[in-house]
């Protein structure tokens, strides 16, 4: 089987400081990869490099495009990359406000990606938007409300609907459950797990919450100071951590 994404030696520097250093991995279709680490360990830098929002200083991000096979997204032209980012890719921000248009209705938010790829039939756009609101457990009668009238959890679910409506194959998530209270988190994780399985999505999830990766991720990558210090199957890494930092991380989780 061919990987969907092949990351080869990605490095990003901020002046003399290291953002992330020499990260390589393969991601296969349907696989969910978790990236954990403390604040400042370079997880978000890495994610932004992969998603084309930052330009890495070294390395290649090779994505299996639908039309021309394996392509390096770092060197492809900007229009192509932006096209990818609204068709095959999705990006879920930690703060829903960064990923939503707050002054546009929920239906408009979900429909935007459809219209961006050429949908020009109002009725169909609206039907799809309503359908997707249902799939993320938002009542259909909220379709014309603005996200500012939504709770934090609903905003996050709306952001997910907005991203998944064009049927992407790869989802980047940056702390998708950050800032939500635990019961809302649990519901969101449940929803995400369902969608990932149902749509056979590949995902890269950046988080510092080990519970999130335990639930969602098949594989885990632990980062510290810009370097990957440990990789492996999620359960393996969490149950039998080898690296000193991973051991510290796992033992830092409070047991209730």
């Amino acid at each position: 089987m061919n990987p969907l994404l092949n990351v080869d030696g990605i490095s990003k520097f901020y002046g003399h400081r290291i953002g992330c250093m020499d990260v390589s991995f393969d991601l296969f279709p349907g696989e969910v990869m978790g990236i954990v680490g403390e604040s400042g360990s370079g997880k978000s830098t890495l994610l932004n490099c992969l998603a084309g929002q930052l330009i890495p200083d070294r390395g290649a991000v090779i994505f299996d495009t639908r039309t021309d096979g394996m392509r390096d997204t770092v060197t492809m032209s900007e229009p192509e990359r932006r096209m990818l980012s609204r068709t095959d890719w999705a990006f879920v921000h930690q703060h829903a406000r960064d990923g939503l248009r707050m002054n546009v209705s929920a239906g408009g938010n979900v429909g935007e990606r459809l219209m961006a790829v050429g949908a020009r039939h109002y009725g169909e756009i609206r039907d799809q938007a309503t359908d997707w609101l249902g799939r993320v457990e938002i009542n259909a009668d909220r379709v014309d409300d603005r996200p500012s009238a939504f709770s934090g959890g609903m905003q996050q679910r709306l952001q997910i609907a907005r991203n998944l409506v064009t049927g992407p194959r790869l989802v980047f998530m940056d702390e998708p459950t950050g800032g939500l209270d635990v019961s809302v988190q649990a519901r969101l994780l449940d929803l995400l797990r369902g969608l990932v399985r149902e749509m056979n999505l590949s995902a890269i999830i950046v988080t510092h919450d080990l519970a999130v990766v335990r639930l969602l991720a098949d594989r885990l990558m632990v980062m510290k100071d810009g370097h990957v210090v440990e990789t492996g199957l999620t359960d393996q890494v969490l149950d039998d951590p080898q690296h000193g930092y991973t051991q510290l991380l796992v033992s830092s989780v409070l047991q209730v």
Binding site: R82, V104, S105, G107, E112, M115, V117, Y122
Partner: protein, 306 residues
């Protein structure tokens, strides 16, 4: 006492003293700069060309962009007409017309057919324009995506990459809130299949007229942008398949001249709900009345007080 500059001017045999206005107010370098922007705009229909907008002796929002474009295209042989919401006799139209009478000495007219350059705010004349006529629009906000995307860097990128999905989000919002595309003016258009353009706040009734024989120039003074639509250029109003574009107007005939095909202003005439509709294009209305057309509340031409 004769100033040094005046002395030099007379020595060189120039017709004007330094205290006179340069032809059409602006200095020649500025006009060159604006003409270059206009030519670039015509070469790339619908593309917003940045230009170094000058301070004009009028406030922003009163047509500083249009005035600069007019100044750059006027020649001494031109006949100039100014309309404001279709009318020749509003403050804005009168003062801009006088401005060019004084600073360029050009002939002015109120008749659309006689004008070679027409500066307009918010309307396209009802009379079809010819290929030897230039229509200059005053534009407040040239960027059609502005209210959806506040960043200029981002909107420029969207134009260059032809990412116009967001424009339809606005129309989607209209339909979801009002049941129809409620945008009634400044209705976005796509020019020659490429750039999405704000046609300035003309009513959408005028949008089909954007496919015309005349040259259309758009000047935004405060925003420092010029754009243009060359003659016979394809201009399409954006819409949805199931909610097609409709050029709407009040369902009435003009009460003065009886015209049913012109864009109408609604006027409240008393405090009992009395109202009348009349052509917003005053020249068109007067022309029809001269030809003997009389509307429901109108008197034959020449008999009313006006």
């Amino acid at each position: 006492m004769q100033s040094c500059a005046d002395y030099r001017a007379s020595e060189m045999g120039l017709r004007y003293k330094m205290s006179d206005y340069n032809f059409a107010y602006l200095d020649e370098q500025t006009k060159r700069m604006i003409r270059r922007a206009i030519l670039k705009g015509l070469a790339i229909p619908g593309y917003q060309v940045p230009f170094a907008s000058r301070e004009m002796p009028m406030p922003y929002g009163w047509g500083t962009g249009g005035v600069q474009v007019s100044a750059a295209v006027l020649t001494p042989d031109d006949t100039f007409k100014v309309i404001d919401q279709g009318a020749d006799d509003t403050t804005n139209a009168v003062s801009i017309r006088r401005f060019f009478e004084k600073t360029a000495g050009v002939a002015v007219t109120e008749a659309t057919v006689d004008a070679s350059v027409i500066q307009t705010r918010h309307r396209i004349p009802e009379q079809d324009l010819r290929s030897d006529q230039i229509l200059v629009y005053q534009v407040p906000i040239p960027e059609p995506l502005r209210f959806l995307e506040p960043s200029e860097v981002e909107t420029r990128k969207m134009h260059s990459l032809e990412e116009y999905g967001l424009m339809h989000v606005k129309l989607y919002e209209d339909i979801s809130q009002h049941g129809a595309i409620a945008t009634a003016y400044a209705y976005p258009v796509k020019v020659e299949g490429r750039y999405v353009m704000d046609p300035s706040p003309i009513p959408k009734f005028d949008n089909p007229k954007l496919n015309m024989a005349g040259i259309q120039l758009f000047g935004a003074g405060r925003e420092q942008r010029i754009y243009a639509v060359p003659p016979y250029t394809d201009v399409v109003s954006l819409d949805f398949d199931d909610y097609p574009f409709e050029a709407s107007k009040a369902e009435h005939a003009c009460d003065l001249c009886g015209a049913e095909d012109s864009y109408l202003d609604e006027l409240i005439v008393d405090d009992e709900g009395g109202r009348m509709f009349m052509c917003s294009d005053t020249d068109y209305c007067a022309g029809r009345r001269k030809d003997g057309h009389v509307g429901a509340q109108g008197a034959p031409y020449g008999e009313d007080a006006a």
